[in-house]
Amino acid sequence: MSMVEDAQVLPVTPKAQQRGPRPASRLRLIFAKLARTPRFWVGTLTLLVIVLWALFGLAFYNFNAVSQDVMSMNTGPTGKHWFGTDEIGGDIYAQTVVGLRKSLLIGFVVGPVSALLAGFIGALAGYLGGVWDRVIVWFIDLLLVLPALYILIMLYPLIKGGSWVIVMVYLAIFSWMILARVIRAQTSSLRDRDFVKAARFMGVKTSTIIRRHIIPNVSSLLIIDATLGVGAAILTETTLSYFGFGVQPPDVSLGTLLSSGTGAATTRPWLFVFPAAILVITVLATSLAGDALRDAVDPTSGANRD
């Protein structure tokens, strides 16, 4: 690169001469870098396997999540019941597979959605400033001080009988506020950075500035939060189920399986270990893929240097 540093200015070159290939766009650069990261492949392939297993794991299996095998109650893993059975003869393998479907859906919707909400609302407040900022922060603080559970109880008559989809919406709505405040603080310092000022002086629209400059520069936080949020949402759903919201028996989720299996963890470990292991693997795989993504959007990290 040395020849370009202080080279003499070339005379203005006539137009339309040979041009190199089109320079890669940001998205292509990010994907190219992701593809070179082994962590990304390990993470996504593991997730893919888990998803496929959740979808087709019961295809060649003799039991389903609600079937009861009265001949074998409280047995450990056998050839017949791969993950063992519970005290009424329910098949843990079948329950885990079915529970996993629900939990994956909850986790992968709630985690990213709440991070995105946090990102856009926080960036908007931080970038616009003034009255908008005050109104949004006031709203965030209001949601923070409101006890989320009471609101759910208040809304109970409305959502009674509604599916666990409502739980998903609820979880997403009540888990973005703290991150939004962090993003807002970061944005208001980004707003005074020269590159944002420069964009404003060029006449770039506010929405474009937020999309092109603000969100990518806070994306590390968003990605971390989205990946951690996947695990957190799966577990929070359990709490809600305990209070009678969310996934109700005979329906199962990983969360309900775990909470019912915890008590038996030492005496009948199969009730607890299998669902727990699946959860840990899911969260780990998500983190791996998220970590790789974070490095890919941050050009100063890793192997992109020459």
Binding site: E5, V12, D194, P216, N304
Partner: protein, 704 residues
């Protein structure tokens, strides 16, 4: 002063040095490779001596002094020896070092705001240093001594100021307080790491004076680390030039400045814009310093050296004395050819000839930008819930100027004088609070939203810090193309235009899909310039475009700006605090003080015969990289700092610091107190001073 005596070429040390650094090396282990930040540096400092260490960023100058103080993180591997008064510092434990640091060796840092604790008063922090090293001292005695020290470093009403917190001090006063802490225990050695880099030239001149005084009072030796050759020229006895972690030249200040023996030093000296040379081209030092992680064999300067021969790439030359004077050492195998006069300095780095001579292409000197009585006041609010106005910050207070096409207007002044606010107001292209902004003859207040967007094509900006002004997460093709996205240019045209601009500013278009961090500071500033030029603007607003760059890179960017002006017929508004740079590039100069223009005229008139006392002080505060000139110069020093722009000073707002005002008889002073001077023409320049004709008075006073 205390130079070692030289008897028939043999060095007989007159005194034992305070500090002896021998073959010092510092290595940082990083993932995969090692960064050799300092590679075998040896120097000594005699008692009472002033040593200047000069180098660009990344040359290892700060790291080597941190190693001397034992302040490097434990991950650094340090080799060689550092002996302070005969005692080896590298073998001392941290507790032992703490007894020496702050007592016998003290340090002054670059940023005095982060070097002082915000939650304690300044007096308390000075007393703390005293009490730590003298257990017998009472608190009262320490506090009294702190006040004494503050007085010594020239802080007005020190009793009151000792009770103040660091944030209540201005930058210059904080640095004075740091010096007070540094000299509190009568140190033997003061290490100052870029002590004036964060300060204005006027304050820099004051601080350098205080440092000289502090040195005389304590008799301490001083090691001043800086990137600015001008700063060391007038103050240092000896200087050492560092490059790529090694000393490449060392010697008495006159020898090094007048007869440099190393091509790098020659290049540095020749690339500096000077107040004397105005419209000639600067000499760029091409290339950039090598990466310290993977140094190729041979002289590290070889890739940038115009004198390079094959032998240079084989082995790294040692620092050896020149034939005439063994104390003048240079690390260059061809240094004897340089000192003997076989190779002259202008042959080593010839001055490049401009590509196009004469006036810019396609310009007719027609007015492209004019400000009339521009005002920008900010209300000063207090209170959290119910805000009430307690004052007004007069950031810009009636500024008028005109800019002709193809011309450059230099806007100069201390930080806080309103020059940045002025250009931000221009760039907003909105109706100002008061006054008028006209671009290409159109009043921007009357613009519709659509016309305003269209006008943004014509006026673009280049910011000071190339790190901050480019989005780190955007590939540079997208960075440069960004202004085009606003105006609905097709992707294909964007790409063509970007490649064209990259070529124009001297970047390889092949690098368009790289990220900004892969470029050096100078290259990044070129990216910033390319982005500004991509819409084919008429006016470029340049906000301190070279002040964040190293001297050797600066020259290349200034030359580029001048060439682009000639090629494209651009008009520049050039904001800078470095007067030498402004002198070099500007056709007209406006000097700002507290939101007003106090002097306005052509660059040659203002710089050769400044009429306003403030302009005189500014110009005389600029350090000149020539020790002989610098020592004999007559300085017009300003007292104190820039007053707060919230103060409403009746009459002339400069009179609180004016050197001329102090010399005037009482009845003439009355006019300064009552009447606000407006710009009037004296000779060829416009000056806002009632007594601009008396300017010679200052010179005669200063000489006394």
């Amino acid at each position: 002063m205390t130079e070692p005596l030289t008897i028939t070429g043999k060095r007989v040390p007159a005194v034992t040095p305070v500090l002896e650094v021998d073959n010092l090396s510092v290595t940082f282990a990083q993932a995969g490779n090692e960064v050799k930040a300092v590679r075998g540096v040896s120097y000594h400092v005699n008692p009472g001596e002033f040593l200047g260490i000069v180098g660009e960023s990344g040359s290892g100058k700060s790291v080597s002094s941190m190693a001397v103080m034992g302040l490097l993180p434990s991950s650094a591997r340090i080799g060689g020896s550092v002996r302070f008064q005969g005692r080896s510092l590298l073998e001392c434990s941290d507790a032992e070092l703490s007894r020496i640091r702050g007592k016998d060796i003290s340090m002054i840092f670059q940023d005095p705001l982060s070097a002082l604790t915000p939650v304690y008063t300044v007096g308390h922090q000075i007393a703390e240093g005293l009490l730590l090293h003298d257990k017998n001292l009472s608190r009262q005695a320490a506090a009294a001594r702190a006040v004494e020290l503050l007085k010594l470093v020239g802080i007005p009403s020190p009793e009151r100021r000792a009770e103040a917190f660091p944030h209540e001090f201005s930058g210059g006063m904080r640095q004075r307080a740091m010096i007070a802490i540094a000299i509190a225990n009568d140190p033997k050695l003061i290490i100052a790491d870029e002590p004036t880099t964060a300060l204005d030239v006027t304050i820099q001149a004051q601080i350098l004076e205080v440092m000289q005084e502090a040195k005389e009072i304590t008799g301490a030796a001083v090691v001043l680390i800086t990137h600015d050759l001008g700063v060391v020229a007038g103050n240092a006895d000896r200087i050492a030039v560092m490059y790529a972690g090694r000393l490449v030249e060392t010697g008495g200040v006159d020898q090094v400045f007048h007869a440099p023996a190393m091509p790098y030093t020659i290049g540095l000296l020749r690339s500096m814009p000077s107040m004397a040379s105005s419209q000639t081209r600067l000499v760029p030092l091409e290339g950039r310093p090598p990466s310290l992680a993977a140094l190729p064999p041979g002289c590290p300067f070889a890739p940038r050296c115009p004198l390079v021969i094959d032998a240079c790439r084989e082995a790294e030359p040692a620092l050896t004395g020149t034939e005439e004077d063994p104390t003048h050492q240079a690390a260059c195998i061809r240094s004897s050819e340089i000192t003997s006069g076989k190779l002259t300095r202008s042959e080593v780095f010839p001055r490049p000839v401009p590509l196009i001579e004469g006036t810019p292409a396609g310009t007719d000197g027609r007015e492209v930008l004019s400000l009339t009585g521009l005002v920008r006041h900010f209300p000063l609010l207090k209170g959290a819930v119910f805000k009430r106005q307690i004052g007004t910050v007069r950031a810009v207070d009636g500024v008028s100027f005109e800019l002709g096409s193809g011309q450059t207007l230099g806007l100069v002044g201390e930080s806080g004088c309103g020059k940045s606010t002025t250009i931000m107001e221009i760039l907003e292209l909105a109706k100002p609070q008061d006054g008028q902004i006209r671009v290409n003859g159109v009043d921007v207040a009357d613009l519709s939203k659509r016309d305003r967007l269209k006008m943004r094509r014509d006026i673009q900006v280049v910011f000071q810090d190339p790190m901050a002004s480019i989005d780190p997460r955007l590939p540079i093709h997208d960075v440069i193309a960004e202004p085009l996205t606003v105006h609905g240019v097709s992707k294909k045209d964007q790409q063509r235009k970007v490649s064209e601009m990259m070529e124009l500013v001297g970047l390889d278009p092949e690098m368009a899909s790289r990220y900004p961090h892969e470029f050096s500071g100078g290259q990044r500033q070129r990216i910033g310039i390319a982005r500004a030029l991509v819409t084919d603007p008429k006016i470029l607003v340049l906000d301190e475009p070279v002040s964040a760059l190293d001297v050797s890179i600066q020259a290349g960017v200034i030359n580029l700006l001048k060439d682009l002006q000639l090629q494209l017929g651009l008009s520049y508004v050039f904001v800078a605090h470095d007067l030498a740079v402004v002198h070099h590039i500007a056709d007209h100069v406006a000097v700002m003080y507290l939101g007003r223009i106090v002097e306005y005229g052509t660059s040659d008139d203002v710089f050769s015969r400044p009429r306003h006392p403030y302009t005189q002080a500014l110009i005389s505060a600029v350090p000149i990289p020539d020790p002989a000139l610098e020592r004999t110069r007559v300085r017009v020093l300003l007292d104190g700092d820039l007053p707060s722009p919230t103060d409403n000073i009746p009459g002339c707002n400069f009179r609180s610091r004016c050197p001329l005002y102090q010399l005037l008889p009482d009845q003439q002073r009355l006019r300064c107190q009552d009447e606000d001077p407006s710009l009037r023409t004296v000779d060829k320049t416009s000056v806002a001073c009632h007594y601009a004709e008396h300017d010679a008075l200052i010179d005669t006073m200063a000489e006394r």
